[in-house]
């Protein structure tokens, strides 16, 4: 599903990722752990090219992300992303957030998109919040909407960038529950997190990063 070969990434003279090789198979839940500044988030953001890649190859579902000829917007629909800070669109209802991609990228008609949107909001336990604006949601609810928004494009893989790090402790569980369910349903997931419990319970593989290197991986 994802194949990363000899990936280097530098910000100026600072080398953030050093020669990363990583393969993620379909249906696999890969958890990346490691101290702050070790390059975990950057690695994740190289997969959908939110960060430019300095050298090396990243292949997502057979498409070379680093190839100029690849339609990067297409890759991003294949590899959805959930952010630490949720990044919901505050000027749209939760349903608006979830349906924007299907409407504008997948060119679905409104009725179809809204049916899909409501279905996904129900899946993340927010069926009755379709017409609510993000400002009126708790952090946990926001993150579940963000997961629904990523799912709406029917991606082949979802990248989670510290999805519970900005949450109050009592709200972490509801987000992890949704992620566990996705994992059990066979969604391919790459998760940057500090949640040991989640890693133990759901991960097929745990990778430790330090100083821009992949240190070890454990099953």
């Amino acid at each position: 599903m994802i194949e990363i070969r000899q990936l280097h990434k530098s910000f100026g003279s600072l080398e953030v990722l050093k020669n990363i090789d990583l393969t993620v198979s379909a249906g696999e839940v890969t958890v990346i752990m490691g101290p702050s500044g070790s390059g975990k988030s950057t690695l994740l953001r190289c997969i959908n090219r939110l960060e430019d890649i300095t050298s090396g190859t990243v292949i997502v579902d057979g498409y070379d992300v680093t190839d100029k000829a690849t339609d990067i917007n297409f890759i991003r629909t294949e590899a959805g992303m959930v952010f630490q800070q949720f990044n919901l669109f505050p000027h749209m209802t939760t349903l608006g957030n979830v349906t924007l991609g299907p409407l504008k990228v997948r060119k679905m008609n409104r009725k179809e998109a809204e049916n899909l949107g409501r279905e996904l909001l129900a899946k993340v336990g927010l069926k009755d919040k379709a017409d609510t604006y993000p400002d009126h949601l708790s952090g946990g609810q926001k993150q579940r909407v963000a997961i629904a928004r990523a799912l709406a494009l029917k991606p082949k893989v979802i990248l989670f960038d510290e999805p519970t790090s900005a949450l109050d402790p009592e709200l972490v569980g509801e987000v992890l529950d949704v992620m566990k369910q996705l994992g059990r349903e066979g969604m391919t997931m790459v998760v940057v997190t500090h949640e040991m419990g989640f890693a133990r319970e759901v991960a097929d593989r745990v990778i430790f990063m330090d100083g821009g290197d992949l240190h070890s991986s454990a099953a």
Partner: protein
């Protein structure tokens, strides 16, 4: 203490119909000038945040050169100067609308640039992450949020531009200030007429402020 001055309300009363023709023209020039300014400002404001350095510099040149010269000079350049170079005369109203448009456009460009840049980076990333193109992200995600933040500074600029139309007296556009001058030339009642003119400007600027206030509240969620 006899200044011999006696306030005559009847002077104001009699001036109102003529002054209102000036008000109409002031509103007309302001409306079309700001429409032009908003268009120019949006385009050049976005040019200033383009990833292409040449486009960025072109936007910057427009803003700096307009902001750095007085409106009065711009008006006279457009009305008296340009026709000599181009070879055709421009009607004063067209010159006025053009001047107000070009002038306000430079300030609106900075408003557009500032508000677009004030939208958190995460919003753009979220837009791109669901497969929207750069342009779609600007249009569906950044623009609506930036627009809300634009309203207070835009209101300022609208009010400034409306008052700036009074400078068009120099090219003989019959807007409010000009009609006031003409009435005074005939009756010498400077106190009453300028007072009436001032009140009319005040009513117009207050109306702009009120309307924008309502829009701002409507956009509140």
């Amino acid at each position: 203490m006899g200044t011999g001055f006696e306030f005559k309300f009847s002077v104001i009363w009699e001036s109102i119909p003529i002054l209102l023709t000036g008000v109409k023209l002031t509103i007309f020039i302001t409306a079309f000038g700001l429409l032009l300014g908003f268009l120019l400002g949006t385009i050049t404001g976005l040019m200033k945040i383009s990833r292409n350095p040449l486009i960025r510099r072109m936007g910057g040149f427009y803003v700096e050169s307009v902001r750095g010269t007085p409106l009065m000079v711009q008006v006279m350049f457009i009305y008296f100067g340009l026709p000599l170079a181009v070879g055709t005369r421009i009607p004063p109203i067209v010159a006025g609308i053009t001047a107000i448009g070009i002038n306000s456009g430079a300030y609106i460009a900075e408003i557009v640039r500032g508000t677009f840049q004030s939208i958190e980076r995460g919003q753009t990333e979220a837009g791109r992450s669901i497969g929207l193109t750069h342009f779609q992200t600007l249009y569906y995600v950044v623009w609506p949020q930036a627009f809300k933040r634009m309203i207070p500074p835009l209101g300022n600029q609208f009010i400034i531009s409306l008052k700036d139309t009074s400078l068009l007296v120099v090219v003989g556009v019959g807007e409010l200030t000009r009609t006031g001058q003409e009435i005074i030339a005939a009756n010498f009642r400077a106190f009453e007429v300028w007072l009436a003119v001032a009140v009319m400007y005040f009513i117009m600027t207050m109306s702009i402020a009120k309307v924008l206030n309502i829009i701002e509240r409507k956009l509140e969620i």
